[in-house]
């Protein structure tokens, strides 16, 4: 059995120590791939898309030309998705968007965008996952359940491995804290430092921590436990907070409370923030768009110069656009119903390696090579580190990047 090393694109950890047996043209065997990654890779061999227009089989060329035609004739197109494709494809997409005067957006506009913005603008201190492994003695998962969303987070970086300054690891030198509205799988791993909050109470919890840090009686939560938490945070040498969707959507426009907490912690010791981004390359898109326009998401090129406002987020743009291209995402499965419905009513072009709700509703379906296995590229991990990966399987299908370039050329 010959094993080939490859990179998993199942989540934003982008594990590079994966070994796959691809001799028979399928992945019959894999090492080190978590359950999520295994499912992600196995999906490659199920329900692959074929080029279609209105459900009828056509050639790839015909599908691409039809896509170009729809976009060329549209007055206000939306190019959406991006989180599950390479930086190279994202760059081609932004180019296409500029040519069309389109609106571009990704899931961050309604998920972790407010936090990602702070991290990428340097308004909240951050670090790499390798720093976490080497230095972190306290990892705080806040509104996040890595065991289910990023299964190898704790074993590769944040709790169980040994690191330069953490040779005794979880047994003596690391603590894990979970703050959540329910006892998640991750919470069961650190029952002494699991804090359950009612939904929306994160702001109050932050205030209680600040009180505990100041030696005052916390107003919210079990006083004894809050004081214990304060003690742990004070003793920490290098702490990292990993906010998930639960915290970001709870704080919403009050993200400054998190900034206040982190600033206060940094007066005492070192504390960083790494966002628990879900998809493997959300940060790639956010970074590219930031570099080119000054904004991480929701940008329109309709007036030439980039415009960023709530009208350009997918929530609004799905309603106002007259055509949409979706790539590296399945919005009809993930968006709130109103937005999903608005999008489904428009002429949709879906670029995807395999079938999804979005491809089922699309007017034009363009099959692509799967990023990570059949197509290589670059992606940015949840901590901002660039990971480059090569393809390990051959495919006759074009990559996402190639498809976008072809569409742009055909306009």
């Amino acid at each position: 059995m010959i094993m080939t090393v490859c990179t998993c694109t199942g989540c934003s950890l982008l594990c590079e120590d994966i070994e796959v047996d691809i001799e028979k043209g399928t992945i019959s065997h894999a090492k080190n791939l978590c359950r999520k990654g295994w499912a992600h890779f196995q999906a490659l061999f199920k329900e692959r898309t074929k080029p279609t227009i209105d459900g009828e089989a056509v050639t790839l060329e015909a599908a691409i030309n039809k896509a170009a035609e729809i976009l060329a004739n549209s007055k206000k197109s939306l190019l959406y998705g991006w989180s599950s494709t390479s930086i190279e494809a994202q760059a081609a997409g932004i180019d296409l968007g500029k040519k069309l005067g389109a609106t571009l957006d990704d899931t961050s506009s309604f998920c972790e965008g407010t936090l990602i913005e702070l991290v990428m603008a340097g308004k909240i201190p951050t670090c790499t996952l390798d720093d976490v492994r080497n230095y972190a003695d306290t990892s705080v998962f806040w509104g996040a359940d890595p065991s289910n969303s990023h299964p190898r987070h704790l074993s590769r970086f944040s709790y169980y491995p040994r690191g330069e300054k953490r040779q005794k690891s979880y047994e003596e030198e690391r603590s894990c804290v979970v703050v959540d509205v329910r006892k998640s799988a991750t919470a069961t791993l650190c029952p002494n430092y699991y804090y359950r909050l009612p939904p929306g109470a994160d702001g109050q919890f932050i205030e209680s921590i600040m009180a505990a840090l100041d030696g005052k009686i916390p107003k919210f939560g079990d006083k004894k436990r809050m004081i214990e938490l304060g003690t742990l945070l004070r003793k920490t040498e290098y702490g990292v907070i990993f906010p998930g969707l639960g915290m970001v959507l709870s704080l919403q426009e009050k993200m400054d409370l998190l900034q206040k907490l982190v600033a206060r912690l940094n007066e005492i010791t070192a504390f960083k923030v790494v966002p628990m981004v879900e998809h493997f390359n959300t940060r790639g898109f956010n970074q590219l768009l930031l570099d080119q326009t000054g904004f991480i998401n929701s940008v329109s090129f309709q007036d030439g110069a980039p415009v960023h406002d709530p009208e350009q987020s997918v929530i609004a743009a799905a309603r106002s656009c007259d055509a949409a291209l979706v790539i590296g995402s399945d919005p009809l499965s993930a968006l709130p119903f109103g937005t999903a419905r608005a999008l489904a009513q428009k002429p949709l072009i879906a670029i995807d390696p395999h079938r999804s709700l979005t491809t089922d509703a699309a007017k034009v379906v363009i099959p692509s090579a799967m990023c990570g296995l059949e197509a290589g590229g670059t992606a940015i991990r949840m901590d901002g580190v660039k990971i480059t990966f090569d393809p390990v399987m051959k495919s006759d299908l074009p990559s996402d990047e190639q498809i976008l370039v072809m569409i742009k050329e055909a306009i």
Binding site: D17, I18, E19, H29, A30, K31, N32, L33, C34, R35, K36, G37, W38, A39, R133, S147, N148, P151, R152, L154, S155, R156, F157, Y159, Y160, P161, R162, G163, Y170, A185, T186, T188, L189
Partner: protein, 152 residues
Amino acid sequence: MVGAMEIYQLLPKDACKECGYASCMALAVALLNREKKLEDCPALLNPKYAEKFKKLKELLAPLEKATETGLIIHPEKCFGCGNCVVACPVNVAAEPTRCAVGLGPQGEKVILAVEDGVVKCMNVKECRRFGPNKVLCNACLVTCPSKAIEFV
């Protein structure tokens, strides 16, 4: 995991000693330790115990899957997170540049490794719970987020 009391309740409870033990309770414990099999209790072969025999077989079935160290993996529960792979002291000692620091193993001397999305165990004899100097190591147990690893 099934307990000795549960097993005892289904045995004849007449201490006939045909199995070689002084009491049915002692046999219950021996069944759990896999020092005896159900077939070692001749009384159970009596048709009046057919229901109980069936139930006992069911309760003891998982133990048959267990390794000599008593380790049972439930792959259907496993997240493939690798916590056990990285926490296992034998893994760590065998792979100081891999498992010790969070990566998958490269060699063959490990006990736990994630394959095809779930954990598999191998070289169980290397486990510290086994052998004359055994210790009650439970690193793989306490680091599992889904109770996919158990010890009988």
